[in-house]
């Protein structure tokens, strides 16, 4: 590995090319992004930055600057934020606040929601071949990674579920199109396949705009979904 001394020389060279006077817009941007708890979108950044700064170019430049560092600038759902580099996870374990391990049922359900959204509970069960316990749905709703987004215009008007921005943030996805294996899945036609009940899910989309076959949620729907479990805990999906 390059010694620290060598590194310093390299740094010094870079410093020559790029005099210490770092472009002010980059300084402002990194300060804003470092300070914020939440990812910030371009519009919010633009509001805080002096007029006439090409935010997009500055963000690209900043992303490049930080790419080799231990802290990277990442884009999630069109918002920008600094995150520790993924390859350093081994070092960061101690920072980890005991993240809940999802049960296999919950992870499968999450995947179905992610890849097939908007999707109803019955459709999820169709794919998995088993009835989902309310507990699993509750656990997922609690993570904040999924949300009920509307009601399917079919008899019974079941709720449709989709993923949230927190989901993208959790799995470091810039957009839903970055879901791993999505292209292959689409290629094999498995997402296009007319599933036994005859519904089609061409491409997953978390676009909040409702589909043609979706009705908006009504007042009280969210309370309903998030209501305390009334069904007894079946414990059928031991976590």
């Amino acid at each position: 590995m390059a010694s620290l001394a060598e590194k310093r020389m390299v740094d010094a060279e870079q410093a020559d090319n790029n005099p210490r006077t770092r472009p002010e817009e980059l300084r402002l941007l990194e300060a804003l992004l470092f300070a914020s708890t939440e990812p910030l979108d371009q519009a919010t950044l633009a509001k805080r930055m002096p007029d006439g700064v090409d935010i997009k170019a500055a963000l690209t430049q900043l992303q490049e600057d930080y790419a080799p560092r231990g802290v990277n600038l990442v884009r999630i759902a069109n918002k920008w934020t600094f995150r520790t580099a993924g390859d350093l996870s081994w070092l960061m374990t101690r920072e980890s606040t005991e993240t809940r391990r999802l049960s296999r049922a919950a992870t499968e359900m999450l995947a179905i929601i992610a890849y097939h959204q908007p999707v109803t509970r019955a459709e999820i069960e169709e794919i998995r071949g088993v009835v989902t316990s309310k507990g699993t749905l509750d656990v997922l709703l609690e993570t904040g990674w999924i949300r009920p987004r509307g009601r399917r215009k079919t008899p019974g008007r079941p709720l449709t579920f989709g993923t949230t921005e927190a989901f993208l943030s959790q799995f470091s996805l810039e957009a839903l199109s970055d879901l791993p294996g999505l292209e292959e899945l689409k290629g094999t036609g498995l997402l296009d396949t007319r599933l036994p009940t005859g519904f089609t899910v061409p491409t997953p989309s978390d676009d909040p705009t409702l589909r043609e076959d979706e009705d908006p949620l009504e007042a009280g729907d969210l309370e309903l979904v998030l209501a305390p479990r009334v069904e007894p805990e079946t414990g059928s999906e031991g976590e």
Partner: protein, 274 residues
């Protein structure tokens, strides 16, 4: 068309419960018949698209048979699937009846294979998703963010109506308040009477009414009202026989005293009569 497969099932199997006694060791870990079928299909070690549903049905039926031989209890949905697979197997083996209703055996087999492929695909996707670097597990946000202080500049609004209503209410309040004060400066008959009655107790002998009034009149502007009320109250007390009034001539000072007690014989008969 493939919906037939599902309608055949009486209900969807419930997920397995860990340690639920109704479920045997052999099927533990399988999330229902579809899960078990997928596991069996994987044993065929071929592309799921090329899987032999006939062979799969045999494997499943053998599995169930073995479980039943050792008297293991199986959840109903496993048996439902077994019955359906036995039916499918017979349809696959027998030549298609010329006027077959519903989906052909081939279509049903394809649909089942398709369901298995879908399940496997989503499992694979699920694994890949969960293996991605996760927030707070592999990658971290800024741990010690700096607060952005918010300086709020209030922008006040009010309507002309608010302004006029506020003005009117205040002005009227003051007017009402002064009217109220004016009322208070009137020496009421009751007040005058109460004061007189108190005085009468003290005045065994003739006293000048205006002298007594001076005790009560602090504000000269109240003199007239106090005098008038007291005079009226005194007249009322005279009528009731409590007080005697005496005046030498018009505009001369008024004297009053407590009325001396009447002779007893006078009072007694009136008392009897009453």
């Amino acid at each position: 068309m493939t919906a037939e497969i599902l309608s055949f099932e009486t209900g969807r199997p419930a997920e397995l419960a860990d340690g639920e006694p109704a479920l045997v060791v052999d099927v533990e870990g399988y999330e229902g018949p579809l899960d078990l079928l997928l596991a069996l299909a994987r044993q065929q070690k071929v592309d799921l698209a090329k899987i032999s549903i006939l062979a799969l049905a045999d494997q499943y039926l053998q599995f169930i048979e073995a479980a039943r031989k050792i008297r293991l209890e199986l959840a109903a949905d496993y048996l439902v699937m077994a019955a359906w697979l036995a039916f499918l197997k017979s349809r696959l083996l027998l030549p298609e009846p010329p006027t077959a209703e519903g989906p052909s055996a081939e279509q049903m087999a394809t649909a089942l294979a398709n369901r298995l492929r879908c399940l496997e695909a989503i499992r694979e996707a699920s694994n890949r998703l969960m293996n991605r670097p996760q927030l707070q597990r592999d990658i971290f946000p800024r741990g010690f963010p700096e607060t952005i202080a918010e300086i709020r500049h209030p922008r006040y609004t009010a309507t002309l109506y608010d302004l006029l209503a506020a003005y009117a209410v205040q002005r009227q309040q003051t007017v009402l308040a002064s009217v109220h004060l004016a009322k208070r400066t009137v020496w009421s008959l009751a007040e005058a009477r109460a004061s007189l009655e108190r005085m009468v107790g003290l005045a065994e002998d003739w006293s000048r009414l205006d002298e007594y009034l001076l005790h009560y009149v602090v504000d000269p502007s109240q003199k007239a009202t106090v005098f008038a009320s007291s005079f009226a109250a005194a007249l009322e007390l005279v009528r009731e026989g409590e007080v005697e009034l005496h005046q030498q001539e018009p505009f001369a000072p008024l004297f009053f005293r407590k009325r001396p007690p009447l002779p007893a014989p006078d009072t007694m008969p009136t008392g009897d009569a009453g």
